[in-house]
Symmetry: C2
Subunit: 143 residues, 2 copies
DNA sequence: CTTAAAACATGACAATTGTCATATTTAAGA
DNA sequence: TCTTAAATATGACAATTGTCATGTTTTAAG
């Protein structure tokens, strides 16, 4: 459903959103440990996210990754789309191109509106929304 | 969500269910073309399905693959579980082991009950059910 | 202006998944 | 019983995805 890379990206963005700020930057290696992802790998993903302004970064001593107010206002679908692309999110269960409501594949009705709902939920949820849930202990960001 | 192999397996099972019978067997290569899957690859998948009695086969001249009445009464989840296993079907969006209703990960509520519903739908649907849909043109099995 | 700490860029390596080919076994029919 | 047509078993190869390391560039601070 989501690739490993997307999952890692989401985890690191959430970690940054909870723990960083403009003047509280975090090193790639200090993100790797708590979210339990290889250091070099998460660095690569963070670079991709930074290039597309989904997270912020500064180089040099005292540098690191962080999230600005603007970063946290982005929808989480932006992260998934950047890493996985649209197809993975919305393609038919049997990967049949012509499959839609009028021309459904045999499995179509089994998934019903779930896929579309899920995509809309991703779209309508911001990083901030998820951070709020975590802060108020309605959800948990684990190791 | 489903692996390519699972999709191919489902397609070939449906094709067999619609077009074959005990004395109307179909060669692997004659399944490959209409469902648009490499011949050698579908052969491998069919062998796996046959080994676990999800399809039937006989060797030698006039042999081939086919589906018995019993085969068609199986639930389609049997196919998915054989090829992909349980984890792929039910694991959390962030692959967090401890994630459940009481201890939800930040994305948990975005998928809601969709995943469980989908799994139940797979479980409660037989090959026969899908064949009926196809026969009555409520769904379409494409190339 | 020099040094060091960090992101950044690049690419090598590994693992998984998907693709394909070949040799073996089985069974039907002449 | 011999030949042939088919599934079956095995494994090699390719592509994708995930993992890791190394060198380069930028920037802050002394």
């Amino acid at each position: 459903m989501l690739s490993k890379s997307s999952k890692y990206a989401l985890k690191s963005v959430l970690y940054l959103a909870v723990h960083s700020s403009e003047n509280q930057r975090i090193l790639a290696k200090d993100i790797a440990k708590p979210i339990n992802v290889p250091k070099a790998y998460i660095a690569k993903i963070l670079q991709e996210l930074a290039k597309h302004h989904l997270v912020s970064s500064t180089r040099g001593p005292n540098g690191g990754f962080y999230m600005t107010k603007e970063n946290k206002e982005r929808s989480i679908i932006d992260i998934v789309l950047l890493i996985d692309g649209e197809y993975r999110l919305t393609s038919c269960l049997l990967s049949i191109e012509e499959c839609d409501e009028d021309n459904p594949c045999p499995l179509h009705k089994l998934i019903g509106s779930a896929k579309i709902n899920f995509r809309e939920n991703l779209q309508n949820t911001t990083i901030n929304d998820l951070v709020r849930d975590i802060r108020e202990e309605r959800s948990f960001l684990p190791l």
